[in-house]
């Protein structure tokens, strides 16, 4: 029975191995952290985009909600950062629940409304009138609980969790029911699937992963501003990574992120515009010639991609 999980679990162990051992030979912890974060975000976005076809342009809204949710409980309740990260995930789920009505919109309309929602949340959090709660535009300072190593390994935990979630969806009826909805809503309903419930669960799971990422990011970074954690580039990068790798699989988003985020670090840090130009062109080429991403080449060669 377990054999159908072997290749996927193998991929997960490779990822764990990489991020446990790499810090000993490569001491750019911030790069490794961000890489894990984007890997987890890519898998989280994969849950909603890859399995249901909803393109969440405002995915960063959940990330920001997680960062602020965790920070606020740390500041006001003084609880352990580990618990606060969970609270960040839950904060993102709550935002997801508030945004349930957006799931009624289809295709590009959903994408734009979701983008607008993340911007609205950003301006809400950054509003000086809410300074007592969110510190408004002046940002958050968590340096009193700062712990780079703990937050690094917690991020690895979140990454593993996100991969297990996608593995679960790949292998179970729940994932199949989501794919059915993506293919044709009416037929899915006539197969007896409760569409509203099913897609809402996927949406909340996806939000939860982004919320956890944002929360751990807040802890790792310790000092940040609303514009840091609601930066539209978080959505944009994640979408590009998933598109490039190939959605709906575990490995696609991993491949996409590993390749492109490394590239970003080589060509993008000093002059981000070169990277922007590169991925802009890449997106256009993908849409025209390879809409299912890199893994579709592997699949074309009859390589089974978990």
């Amino acid at each position: 029975m377990l054999s159908k999980y072997y290749s996927s679990l193998g991929a997960i162990f490779v990822i764990i191995f990489i991020f446990v051992t790499l810090p000993f030979v490569y001491n750019n912890q911030s790069f490794l952290f961000n890489m894990m974060m984007y890997l987890a975000l890519a898998e989280g976005l994969n849950i909603i985009y890859g399995f249901t076809g909803y393109l969440p342009f405002g995915y960063v809204g959940f990330f920001g909600a997680g960062a602020y949710g965790a920070s606020i409980v740390i500041m006001f309740l003084r609880i352990s950062p580990f618990l606060a990260v969970l609270a960040g995930g839950i904060a993102a789920v709550i935002i997801g629940i508030i945004l349930f009505p957006l799931l009624r919109l289809s295709g590009a309309y959903f994408a734009i409304a979701n983008l607008a929602a993340s911007q609205a949340l950003y301006y809400l959090v950054a509003n000086p009138n809410l300074q007592k709660i969110t510190q408004g535009p002046y940002g958050i300072d968590l340096s009193s609980v700062y712990n780079a190593n703990a937050s690094y390994y917690l991020m690895l935990g979140v990454l593993v969790f996100s991969m297990l979630l996608v593995l679960y969806m790949r292998k179970t009826d729940f994932g199949l029911s989501l794919l059915a909805i993506k293919e044709d809503r009416v037929t899915a309903a006539l197969a007896g699937i409760n569409i509203v419930k099913t897609r809402s669960i996927a949406w909340m799971l996806s939000a939860f992963v982004a919320g956890l990422c944002g929360a751990v990011f807040a802890w790792f970074t310790a000092v940040f501003y609303p514009s840091t954690v609601f930066n539209l580039n978080v959505s944009v990068f994640t979408i590009v990574f998933v598109l490039f790798g190939g959605m709906g699989t575990i490995v696609g988003p991993l491949l996409g992120t590993l390749i492109l985020y490394s590239m970003y670090n080589f060509i993008g840090i000093s002059t981000p515009e070169y990277f922007q130009l590169f991925y802009g062109l890449l997106i256009m080429i993908l849409v025209l010639f390879l809409p299912n991403g890199v893994v579709s080449i592997l699949q074309h060669w009859r390589i089974d991609v978990p």
Binding site: A180, A189, L190, A191, G192, I193, I195
Partner: protein, 240 residues
């Protein structure tokens, strides 16, 4: 109709508006347990809208729909499926990116409450004769095969009633005969049906009980033989 306990589906005074247009204007139909009723009418008379409303794809504006003694009025599709009604489409809508087996399995898993799912899937595949194509992507099937897949998907939810929407359209006469035989076989297993068809001949091979509708309302109910002599029926079919 006879005693109410023999009635499986009772639809009364159904109205469905699309903006200004009344696609259904007080339509009623009853179907007895274990019966097949043909639903005929000219193009645009509202036949498919009836099916869409009963199966929950469209929400009706006025009326009542009772199935097996309980109201299913304005329920969402998946709940109607769970109550025991399913349907096929004139233009098949398979889950194109999934295999035949996945298409049917998902209906067995989510559509029916009880029973051995593997067994249900196997049966459905057998009835429609798609066993050999079970690992094919639905997108790669022929039109006739996609219609059969739609039928198998519906059967896998273990329905008490099947709404068959213009299944004959676009099929050869050989395929027609085959599908008619298949529907008779399905009916014998105890499934009631409403069979929507433009062609009276196809209905005739399944049942003699027919409802004729026009402009979203009932025009005639009775045997096909009487229908063919009814002046109003003749007029809506031939008179324009």
């Amino acid at each position: 109709m006879s005693h109410s306990e023999d009635v499986l589906l009772r639809v009364d005074g159904l109205v469905k508006k699309f903006g200004e247009l009344k696609a259904l204007n007080g339509f009623s139909i009853t179907v007895g347990k274990g019966k097949i009723v043909g639903l005929a009418g000219p193009n645009g008379s509202g036949k498919t809208t009836v099916i869409n409303v009963i199966s929950g794809i469209y929400k009706p504006d006025v009326g009542s729909i009772e199935f097996d003694g309980k109201s299913i009025y304005r329920l969402p599709s998946h709940k109607i499926v769970h109550r025991g009604i399913n349907r096929t489409f004139q233009v098949p809508k398979p889950l194109a990116g999934l295999t035949v087996l996945q298409n049917i399995s998902i209906a067995a898993i989510y559509g029916s409450q009880a029973g051995n799912k593997t067994e249900t899937v196997k049966e459905a595949l057998e009835i429609v004769g798609l066993e050999d194509a079970k690992d094919t992507l639905a997108a790669n099937l022929t039109l006739a095969q996609q219609k059969l897949l739609g039928l198998a998907r519906a059967l896998a939810t273990k329905p008490k009633m099947l709404l068959v929407d213009e299944i004959a359209a676009g099929l050869s006469s050989q395929e027609l005969q085959w599908i008619a035989d298949m529907l008779i076989h399905i009916h014998k297993s105890g499934i009631s049906m409403i069979v929507v068809e433009h062609l009276m001949g196809f209905i005739d091979s399944l049942t003699s009980d027919v409802v004729v509708m026009n402009a979203g309302a009932n025009l005639f109910r009775g045997s096909i033989e009487d229908a063919s002599r009814n002046e109003e029926v003749i007029e809506v079919f031939l008179g324009r």
